[in-house]
């Protein structure tokens, strides 16, 4: 069954000028890092968001359009529906240290993964990319976990100047057995995919496609022959090998293919 359950917002705060985090009066202890929930605003719409913490449920939402703007307008005590969790999350390699690579709100699910990896005794480092210092989020939360943290900004206003992929390239050269776990803009993940293939490093990527059902019925989230809602959203480097839509095409609500920039 998957009817939405309506719960209240118990906490909400700003992460950046356009990103907010919400905590709900909902428990999803079975959720795995990388899985997502569908959030429902009655009379408005219902959209997918990654679980940033399962119990109580927390999500981090960027304001990019009508639904996310309506969600941002809500306050503590307001009601939101949710269903899930859905999809396949990250699968930690127990024998390799973890390099988590995040862009934008991709820090949410990777924070959940970092916590899980730390609990299992897997060494974790985190690389975060952003345009400017003020677009960075979750830094303190990662620091509290005691993981290695490096930052890259396009303008050098925090951390290294340049792309986060350049930091990753250095880490891959270091040679210790690593696995890469990524979440962020698709073109960043395409670059990482190439890099990890070149270095023979196992990697997992969390992708987004337009979703309606969230459970493998509508076909809206197709990525070649993969269903992002069910085979993903986390897909391995091998699964993405030769996938023509990866980094190129996504679909609109009608199902029409649109190019990715």
């Amino acid at each position: 069954m998957s009817l939405p359950e309506v719960v209240r917002i118990v906490e909400v705060w700003d992460e950046t000028r356009t990103i907010r985090t919400f905590v709900f009066d909902a428990q999803v202890p079975e959720a795995e890092p990388g899985q997502f929930v569908m959030l429902w605003l009655p009379e408005i719409d219902e959209k997918p968001f990654a679980v940033a913490q399962p119990d109580p449920l927390m999500v981090t939402v960027a304001r990019v359009g009508p639904f996310s703007a309506a969600l941002h307008a809500l306050e503590v005590g307001d009601r939101v529906g949710w269903r899930g969790p859905y999809g396949v999350g990250y699968r930690l390699h127990e024998d390799r240290s973890a390099l988590l690579v995040a862009g934008g709100y991709g820090v949410g699910p990777l924070y959940f993964l970092a916590k899980r990896a730390v609990e299992r005794g897997i060494p974790v480092s985190v690389a975060i990319g952003a345009r400017r210092a003020l677009d960075l989020l979750y830094l303190e939360r990662f620091a509290e976990l005691g993981v290695d943290l490096v930052v890259a900004t396009d303008d050098g206003s925090a951390g290294e100047r340049g792309y986060v992929t350049e930091l990753v390239a250095q880490a891959l050269v270091a040679g210790a057995p690593l696995a890469v776990y990524a979440c962020g803009p698709e073109l960043m993940q395409v670059a990482l995919h190439r890099l990890c293939r070149e270095h023979g490093v196992p990697a997992q990527f969390s992708l987004e496609r337009y979703m309606k059902c969230g459970f493998g019925i509508c076909g809206q989230c197709a990525l070649d022959d993969l269903l992002v809602c069910q085979d993903g959203p986390v897909l391995t480097g091998e699964q993405l090998e030769g996938v023509r839509d990866f980094g190129r095409w996504h679909r609109s609500a009608t199902g029409r293919a649109l190019p990715i920039y």
């Binding site: 009817l3 009655p42 009608t254 199902g255």
Partner: protein, 318 residues
């Protein structure tokens, strides 16, 4: 395979509209059928034929989400017939055919239109893609300006749509009927008379309504939605029985088919093939292969070598 008693001589292939399907399972329209990549995967997962999502002349975004929900014994959906429009679907169908024809898996293209006249126009467009079979979805809740109800509610109108499509093309035509009528056999007779090569039945039941009791509002953005899945199977079986008793053209039985026993049931009331939609939710894309294995197990147990020996063998005391 668990406890498989299957003998290699059991033949579950079927003939449908001039095509020889390796097995009787067909992917139902509106399930996964938007893109050639996924259609090819469904074929690799054991479907005997695949149906594309119903498409219209122009693209449609459909309703806001939630559009499809699982309420336990079935699904409820009000997608609003979203589709990228016929131009895009022609490309998808061509690409799907390239991949499926070598496997001997026919591609069925589903179409719908707002008017009887427009059914003719979209047929001409979709024919360019050379789908193996066409399926006219006359059971969507869209209104024809003149008739103010779905086409399938009226035998006369359903027959007119059938004629309109047949005038435009030689591609074999399945007409997809709705259970939401008082006498489905009458509609079936009318479309058979008008030249339909087969019938697909049933489309989703209803509409139904599910509320969220905290907000006291419908859970679907559209309010009401079509009901499908295991919960509607008894109604689908009765409809298929009524249709098969009334017409001689093949029937693709649809509605709640989830296991091999459900296929047997549909065959017993006279179906030629079955389509599977909601069961993809309950048993995954591999449902086609699983259902065929279960069907073969039943045949082995009862000594059937082929499906013809099962077809229409139901014993009804009425």
């Amino acid at each position: 395979m668990p406890g498989s008693t299957q003998s290699p001589d059991i033949d579950i292939s079927v003939d449908l509209c001039g095509f020889h399907l390796p097995n009787p399972t067909v992917l139902a329209s509106g399930i996964l059928g938007l893109s050639h990549g996924v259609l090819a995967r469904v074929a690799r997962s054991g479907a005997g034929a695949v149906t594309t999502k119903s498409c219209s002349l122009r693209p449609r975004s459909g309703y806001a989400n939630p559009t499809i929900l699982d309420w336990g014994p079935g699904l409820i959906n009000a997608v609003g017939l979203s589709n990228p429009g016929v131009e895009v679907m022609v490309e998808e169908i061509q690409a799907a055919k390239e991949r499926l024809s070598p496997l001997g898996i026919p591609v069925i293209a589903s179409i719908f239109a707002d008017t009887i006249y427009e059914f003719g126009t979209i047929t001409r467009f979709i024919a360019e893609a050379e789908p193996d079979i066409l399926e006219a979805n006359v059971s969507c809740p869209n209104l024809d300006d003149r008739y103010q109800q779905m086409f399938a509610a009226d035998p006369y109108v359903s027959a007119q749509v059938t004629r309109r499509v047949k005038e435009q093309t030689d591609i074999p035509l399945l007409v997809k009927l709705s259970p939401n009528v008082t006498n489905i056999a009458e509609v079936a007779e009318a479309v058979a008379e008008a030249g339909a090569d087969g019938i697909t039945a049933i489309n989703s039941l209803g509409p139904g309504l599910i509320l969220n009791i905290e907000t006291r509002r419908p859970v679907l953005a559209h309010g009401t939605g079509g009901v499908s899945g295991p919960s509607i199977r008894p109604i689908a079986v009765r409809c298929v029985h009524d249709i098969c008793s009334a017409v001689d053209i093949p029937v693709v039985a649809t509605g709640g088919v989830t296991t091999g026993r459900d296929v047997v049931e549909m065959l017993l009331v006279g179906a030629t093939a079955v389509s599977i939609g909601s069961a993809v939710r309950y048993r995954g894309i591999e449902v086609f292969r699983k259902v065929c294995a279960e069907l073969k197990d039943y045949m082995a147990r009862y000594g059937h070598q082929d499906l013809a020996s099962l077809r229409g063998k139901a014993v009804l005391s009425t």
